[in-house]
């Protein structure tokens, strides 16, 4: 019930948001009248046209270039798969890496390691992308070694390594922070002291007591992780030029309300797919570490 309510409000939010560029308008170069205009009517028209167009299917066509009007459903499957692939691979890497590093880092007193991690964590996604691209190019120019593709040049030749690094680094940093805090808390508990005094090996304590007690907080963080990664997806797909769902939103040319709404709705579906895939993975982890 709650999920349904949330979904409905997100969908309404999407319809309103996408109509805003027509409602709040000020473009002196194209309309000749130099003033800021607030025209809710134009926004409402767009929403109305969207629903009228549903019947004829016009809603699901968009303009590409000057004369082509392909159907939205023609390519969306492959876009969706591409975005989903990047998200899930990076998400899985993020969870595994952060579980290991988080457990190891919990007791570390080395403040410089936390400094580095923390600084990596506050670096915005686009800075990370640009730095990685600059690094790859300068390595290539000075040594001639082609480390990774800087951006996709075509559909058949997608950049894979750098987008996945970028997409996983940001959730990894976030997760390491929360998980290492959580691990620290667990390590201070009395049952760990009991286990230690019984002579149980360190590895067994980690597997039997520590991991199973931090998995719930991982589960609680999944929505947050998914949301962070979806936000990063826009930047990553745009700067690496990978063909994904978010790319639909930044097509050069006039603003296309129907296309934006359809794209955003697809993103909601992508989010749900992605979230439930991660949920399934954590469920698998529970079966390994927290079975009865």
């Amino acid at each position: 019930m709650k999920l349904l309510f949330t979904l409905c409000s997100i969908i309404i939010l999407i319809f309103i948001l996408a109509a805003l560029p027509m409602t709040l308008h000020d473009d002196s170069r194209s309309t000749k009248d130099n003033e800021f205009r607030f025209t809710p009517r134009a926004g409402l028209e767009a929403v109305k046209d969207y629903f009228i167009g549903l019947k004829s299917g016009e809603t699901f066509h968009y303009r590409q270039g000057s004369d082509r009007e392909p159907s939205f459903f023609r390519d969306i499957g492959s876009y969706l798969m591409s975005s989903y692939f990047y998200l899930v691979v990076s998400g899985l890497i993020a969870v595994v890496v952060s579980l290991i590093i988080g457990a190891w880092q919990a007791k570390s007193k080395q403040e410089w390691a936390k400094d580095m991690l923390g600084f990596l964590g506050v670096i915005p996604d686009f800075i990370l992308v640009l730095l990685l691209q600059l690094a790859v190019v300068s390595v290539y120019q000075s040594t001639g070694i082609h480390v990774a593709k800087v951006a996709s040049s075509s559909t058949d030749n997608p950049a894979i390594l750098l987008p996945i690094i970028t997409l996983s680094v940001i959730p990894v940093i976030y997760l390491i922070r929360t998980l290492s805090e959580q691990t620290f808390e667990v390590l201070t508990e009395d049952y760990i002291l009991t286990a230690k005094s019984k002579g149980i090996s360190r590895l067994s304590i980690y597997i039997q007591h520590v991991f199973r007690n931090i998995i719930p907080s991982l589960k609680a963080d999944l929505h947050k992780i998914a949301a962070i990664m979806m936000g990063n997806l826009f930047i990553v797909e745009y700067l690496y030029n990978t063909r994904g769902v978010t790319g639909l939103m930044f097509i050069e040319g006039d603003y296309q309300y129907n296309l934006i709404v359809n794209g955003l709705l697809t993103l909601v579906i992508l989010y749900l797919f992605f979230y439930w895939s991660m949920r399934l993975f954590v469920f698998g982890l529970e079966r390994i570490f927290a079975y009865e």
């Binding site: 027509m22 409602t23 000020d26 473009d27 800021f36 923390g118 686009f126 800075i127 390590l187």
Partner: protein, 308 residues
């Protein structure tokens, strides 16, 4: 406690760098070597074979310390002129988020029933990337706008404040709920202290360290948000779009906007991207060091130790 006496170098370097940023933001335009509309398209260079014609972009030299962009603008000048928009907008937005979200969070936390603790009321807004909201609001009005850079900056700052309030609210609210269970709050309350008395005299002093750290983190988050919009050509203070060929310029030369505008110079003339990128990272680094320094100072008091 020998550790406590050690100099908190993060705090000090953070403060020095932030002071430097403020200095640049205030006196930058006065120090700039050229006017902000100065263009040096071509120069004659004396070589062995006589004079030679060279066109922008020019790499870093004694004449242009950071080089020039493709159109001959001196990059150092652009950065010095844009600093004020970056620094002050980020600080004002963070302050706004903290004051509004914090006040609401304190009162919300004091009045909230304990059972529902942990539930996020702003679930929908929280799952929605903040930058999308600002993006769609600004998209129609930011490009070739008739509004002045200041009007657009103020408008976008207000918007960025609004989208950040829920986050601050839920942090402060959950901390308040945690704190109000403490004995000293119960004691003060049973002696007849009202809600605002409890907040001002007991909760606020207790959370002061957290609030300052949160403030610095919000500054960084705001910088990131401005930058993300810049990547999609919505520069703070307005975008100038030229049509044939399609090129986007930042009106204010704000740092994150410059990074977005120059993002294409990855393969050649990298200094055009490199220096704005460095300036932006420097801004983030100074605020980050400040926040870490404050965090370490606060944490020294309460410490737990792991058993293994």
């Amino acid at each position: 406690m020998s550790k406590g006496k050690r100099i908190n170098w993060r705090l000090w370097s953070g403060m020095i760098l932030t002071a430097f940023l403020f200095f640049v933001a205030i006196f930058g335009p006065a120090m700039a070597p050229y006017d902000d509309d100065y263009e040096e398209k071509i120069v004659y260079v004396q070589t062995d074979q006589g004079s030679e014609l060279k066109a922008a972009p020019f790499p870093p030299s004694s004449k242009h310390w950071f080089g020039t962009d493709k159109y001959g603008h001196d990059l150092l000048t652009l950065l010095l002129h844009g600093a004020k928009y970056t620094v002050f907008t980020a600080i004002i937005v963070a302050l706004g988020r903290l004051i509004i979200g914090g006040a609401a969070g304190f009162f919300g936390g004091m009045h909230r029933a304990e059972k529902v603790k942990g539930k996020n009321q702003f679930g929908v807004l929280g799952a929605f990337p903040a930058f999308l909201i600002v993006y769609f609001v600004m998209l129609g009005m930011n490009i070739n706008s008739s509004l002045s850079p200041w009007q657009l900056t103020v408008f976008q700052a207000a918007l960025m404040t609004a989208v950040g309030i829920p986050g601050v609210y839920s942090v402060i609210q959950s901390k308040t709920i945690e704190l109000r269970k403490k004995l000293f709050v119960t004691a003060a309350s049973s002696l007849g202290g009202g809600t605002s008395h409890l907040i001002w005299k007991h909760l606020f002093p207790h959370l002061k360290g957290n609030l300052i750290a949160l403030f610095v983190n919000e500054i960084i988050a705001t910088l990131a948000l401005i930058g993300q919009l810049g990547i999609f050509n919505l520069f703070l203070g307005g975008t100038i779009k030229q049509f044939v060929p399609v090129i986007y310029f930042s009106k204010t030369h704000e740092w994150a906007g410059l990074v977005g505008q120059m993002r294409g110079f990855v393969f050649n003339a990298q200094w055009i991207l490199f220096f704005p990128l460095c300036a932006f990272i420097l801004a983030i680094l100074s605020f980050y060091l400040l926040s870490r320094g404050l965090e370490l100072r606060e944490r020294a008091a309460m410490h737990k130790f792991p058993h293994i």
